[in-house]
């Protein structure tokens, strides 16, 4: 099956410090994501990957016995990340404005205002999802993540 994975610069895994082979070699215990959970795992580089062996989907992650890079998704770049940050910042502030007196929402809105660079893309998405959860429960969080995923798929063409 094919999926996606976000990495640090140079195809380095964000958590394990391992590097995906860029010449098509297989990486054991590969962490990836389906398109619907892209916003949860946002990092510097986005790759399309092939997964093989036993595959499972714990939480919002896709884990495979092994995986290999197919191609870099070049449309995920600094400009796209900055647009995503701006979109999620607006979303958080719009949601928080629905209940101006709710003290649970103010810290999220404050943090969202501080999300201004591409590096804060993951956090910006999380803040919008968290704000939606405070307002509308787990359904609200899931809907907001789905909205973000749709935004990314449309913007990146994946």
């Amino acid at each position: 099956m094919t999926a996606f994975t976000f990495t640090r610069r140079g195809a380095r895994c964000p958590f394990t410090d391992r590097v995906w082979p860029v010449e098509g070699g297989w990486l054991a215990d590969a962490r990836a994501t389906s398109a619907e959970h892209l916003p949860v795992w946002i990092a510097k580089e986005l790759w399309r990957v092939e997964l093989g062996g036993q595959i499972s989907t714990p939480a919002e992650q896709t884990v495979a016995e092994h995986g290999r890079l197919l191609e870099r998704v070049e449309t995920w770049d600094r400009a796209a990340a900055e647009e995503f940050v701006a979109d999620c910042r607006r979303r958080t502030l719009t949601l928080a404005a629905r209940r101006p007196g709710d003290l649970r929402l103010k810290p999220m809105a404050d943090d969202a205002r501080g999300c201004t660079t591409a590096a804060s893309a993951n956090l910006a998405g999380w803040l919008a999802a968290r704000t939606a959860r405070v307002l509308d429960g787990e359904d609200g969080r899931a809907a907001e993540r789905a909205r973000q995923a749709a935004w990314l798929r449309a913007r990146l063409g994946v």
């Binding site: 964000p14 958590f15 949860v40 795992w41 939480a59 992650q61 993951n122 999380w126 787990e138």
Partner: protein, 87 residues
């Protein structure tokens, strides 16, 4: 970043679980939740990197490479710390 949903870990929990993570002692579900927090929290990502680096450096250290005076000082410090914890 420690405001989390019931399914999400907070920073304090990540700090407590980092050894389990590095030793591969988590279930896939626990590991995914742990990594989900790391993905959005720069502070905990940096902490994990520091722990990984510490383990790497400490693993390269040989007993004979430690100055005997430094070794004695460290042993005394550890004994004092252990006694304090026992009260």
């Amino acid at each position: 970043m420690s405001r989390a949903t019931p399914h999400e870990l907070v920073c304090r929990e990540v700090v407590e679980l980092v050894s389990d993570y590095l030793e591969g002692a988590m279930t896939l579900e626990e590991r995914a939740r742990f990594e989900e927090h790391l993905a959005m929290c720069d502070g905990c990502s940096a902490y994990l990197e520091q722990m990984r680096l510490t383990l790497r450096v400490a693993g390269e250290l040989r007993a004979e490479a430690v100055d005997p005076h430094v070794c004695a000082h460290l042993v005394d410090a550890f004994r004092g710390w252990a006694q304090e914890r026992r009260g």
